[in-house]
C-alpha cells in the first residue's frame, strides 16, 4: 500500500504541479482542491491502468475515488487483490 501511495504521489506531483514550491501529501484534495481537473483525470486513470495492468471501470473512476492519493491507493489495492 505504501509503495502504491509513493508511486501515485510522485506521478501526481510531476504531472499536475506547475510550481516547484508547491507540495502535495497523500491527503491533499486533488479534484475538490482544484489541482486536477476532470479533463486531467483521464491521464491519471490511464497511468494507473498501465502501471498496474488493471482496468478501472468508468463508474468506479469517480472524482470522489480520485480525490486524494490515499483514496486512489485504496482503489488500486482493491484491483490488485
Amino acid at each position: 500500500m505504501e509503495e502504491i501511495k509513493k508511486v501515485v504521489l510522485e506521478y501526481v506531483t510531476e504531472e499536475y504541479l506547475e510550481d516547484e514550491d508547491d507540495e502535495l501529501t497523500a491527503e491533499t484534495p486533488l479534484i475538490s482542491g482544484g489541482i486536477v481537473d476532470s479533463f486531467s483525470m483521464v491521464s491519471l486513470k490511464r497511468f494507473l491502468e498501465n502501471k498496474y495492468n488493471i482496468s478501472i471501470p468508468d463508474e468506479q473512476a469517480t472524482p470522489e475515488a480520485f480525490d486524494t492519493v490515499d483514496k486512489i491507493a485504496v482503489l488500486i489495492q482493491g484491483f490488485l487483490k
Binding site: F39, S40, R46
Partner: protein, 415 residues
C-alpha cells in the same frame, strides 16, 4: 409568469457575487471607427475622450482601411446584405467559394471551410473528425473556444504542460494505442504573447503518428516573414494538419473564421460540423472585405513589416523604461504588475493620460500574474507609441515600479 421574484433574486445574488469578486465586465462605448485613435465614452454617460487604443486585436490596422471599407461596400451592393440560409441549402455565394480558395492559398494548406466565427470553427471541428477511439492532447493554456470544442467531442482528452515538449512526448507515449492522436495548441498564446514550438511539435507528432492542430487567430496575417502564421515562422508550412483562424482580428477584424488543412478533414467538417450545418455563414459584406484584406497582404508585406518594427520599438521602450515584460517577440506585449488592484489602478491612470489599455488578473490569468496586456498595431505611428511610453513612464513613476524586480513589486503591493 414563470420568472418569479425568487428566480430573479437568485440571479441578482449571483451577479452581485461577480461584482464583489471584482470580475464584473463592463463595456466601454467607442464612438468612432476602430483604429489607433478612438473616441470613448467611459464610464457610460461621460463626455467623449480621445485615446490611443493599445488593446485591440487590430494588428495590421486594417479594421477601417479605406480599401477594405470600399470592397465591403461593393460586396454589399453586388451580393446583398444577408443569405437567409445555411450554406448547404441556398446560403453559398461564389464569393464564399472564392474566399475559401484564397485562404487555402494564403495559408498554404489543402482546403478551407468558412465558419461564422473561429469560436464556431473550434467548437465544431473536433466532433466532426474524431470519435471515442481517438485522443486529443492539448496545451494547458489553449483558448477557451478550443476547450469548448473538446468538451463537445467524444474522443478522450488529455493535456500537456504549457509548451513542454518532454511532457507532450510522455502523453504521446501514454496514448500510443489510440486510433488517432491530435495534438492541439494555440499558435500565439493570447495572454502571454509567446509562440508555440511548432517545429518540435511537428517532429514529435511525426515520430508518434499524431496530427497537429493549431489555432492561429493571433498570428494569421502578420506572424512569419510573409505573415502566413506561426507555421511559416517555425518553418513547418504544409505540415500542420488543421489550422483554425479568425477574420475578426488582423484580417479585417469584422467576424468569421475557418478550418483550413487536410482535404478530407475539411470535407468532414462540411458534412458534419454543427456550427457550419446549423448556422448562416459569414455575410457577403464581410466576405468581400476579407477578400480585399488577403489581396492587400498577398501583394506586400509592408504592413506586417511595420508591425514588427513597431513591436520592437515598443518592447525596447518599455524594457528601457524599467517595466517587466513577458518574453516574446509578438505584438502581444504583457506588462507584468503581479497584483490585481495595481493592474486596475494603472489601467485607470493610463486612461486618464489618454491611453486605453486593460488590466487582466485572476481568473483570466493565473493568480499573482496580473498585468496590462498591450497590443501593437501597424496602425500605430511612432508618435502614438512615444505618447504611450511617456504615459506608462509617468504612471510607472507614480507607483514606483520602474526598474523594480518582481519580488520588489510584490513586496510593495502584495500578490
Amino acid at each position: 409568469m414563470s420568472y418569479s421574484d425568487a428566480i430573479r433574486n437568485i440571479y441578482q445574488e449571483q451577479l452581485k457575487d461577480i461584482e464583489t469578486a471584482g470580475v464584473f465586465k463592463q463595456e466601454r462605448f467607442i464612438h468612432s471607427a476602430q483604429a489607433a485613435d478612438i473616441e470613448v465614452e467611459y464610464p457610460t454617460g461621460a463626455p467623449l475622450k480621445k485615446v490611443i487604443n493599445m488593446c485591440a486585436n487590430n494588428y495590421l490596422g486594417l479594421s477601417s482601411h479605406p480599401e477594405v471599407v470600399k470592397a465591403a461596400h461593393e460586396g454589399l451592393d453586388s451580393r446583398g446584405y444577408g443569405m437567409s440560409s445555411v450554406r448547404f441549402i441556398c446560403g453559398t455565394q461564389d464569393i464564399h467559394d472564392q474566399l475559401e480558395k484564397k485562404v487555402t492559398e494564403f495559408l498554404g494548406t489543402e482546403d478551407t471551410i468558412l465558419f461564422p466565427s473561429c469560436m464556431d470553427a473550434n467548437a465544431g471541428v473536433f466532433e466532426a473528425i474524431l470519435n471515442k477511439d481517438d485522443v486529443m492532447i492539448s496545451d494547458r493554456l489553449v483558448h477557451a473556444s478550443i476547450i469548448d470544442g473538446i468538451r463537445l467531442c467524444s474522443a478522450m482528452h488529455d493535456t500537456f504542460k504549457h509548451s513542454n515538449m518532454a511532457h507532450l512526448e510522455k502523453k504521446l507515449q501514454l496514448h500510443a494505442d489510440k486510433r488517432f492522436k491530435v495534438v492541439i495548441t494555440d499558435g500565439v498564446f493570447s495572454m502571454d504573447g509567446d509562440t508555440a514550438k511548432l517545429d518540435e511539435m511537428v517532429e514529435l507528432c511525426a515520430k508518434y503518428d499524431a496530427m497537429v492542430f493549431v489555432d492561429d487567430s493571433h498570428s494569421s496575417g502578420f506572424i512569419g516573414k510573409t505573415g502566413r502564421g506561426t507555421h511559416e515562422k517555425c518553418g513547418v508550412m504544409g505540415k500542420i494538419d488543421i489550422i483554425t483562424t479568425t477574420f475578426g482580428k488582423a484580417l479585417g477584424g469584422a467576424s468569421g473564421g475557418c478550418v483550413s488543412g487536410r482535404r478530407e478533414l475539411v470535407e468532414m467538417c462540411r458534412q458534419k460540423a454543427r456550427p457550419y450545418l446549423f448556422s448562416n455563414t459569414i455575410a457577403p459584406v464581410v466576405v468581400s472585405g476579407v477578400l480585399k484584406v488577403l489581396e492587400i497582404l498577398s501583394a506586400s508585406t509592408e504592413r506586417r513589416d511595420k508591425l514588427e518594427k513597431n513591436t520592437e520599438y515598443w518592447r525596447k521602450g518599455l524594457t528601457e523604461g524599467g517595466f517587466i515584460l513577458k518574453d516574446g517577440d509578438t505584438p502581444i506585449v504583457p506588462v507584468m504588475l503581479f497584483n490585481a488592484k495595481l493592474s486596475q489602478d494603472i489601467s485607470r491612470d493610463l486612461y486618464d493620460e489618454g491611453i486605453y489599455a486593460i488590466g487582466f488578473f485572476f481568473p483570466v490569468v493565473p493568480q499573482g500574474q496580473a498585468r496590462i496586456r498591450t497590443q501593437i498595431s501597424a496602425g500605430h505611428e511612432i508618435e502614438h507609441l512615444d505618447k504611450a511610453l511617456a504615459a506608462f513612464t509617468k504612471v510607472g513613476k507614480k507607483y514606483d515600479i520602474l526598474g523594480k524586480t518582481k519580488q520588489e513589486i510584490i513586496e510593495k503591493y502584495g500578490m
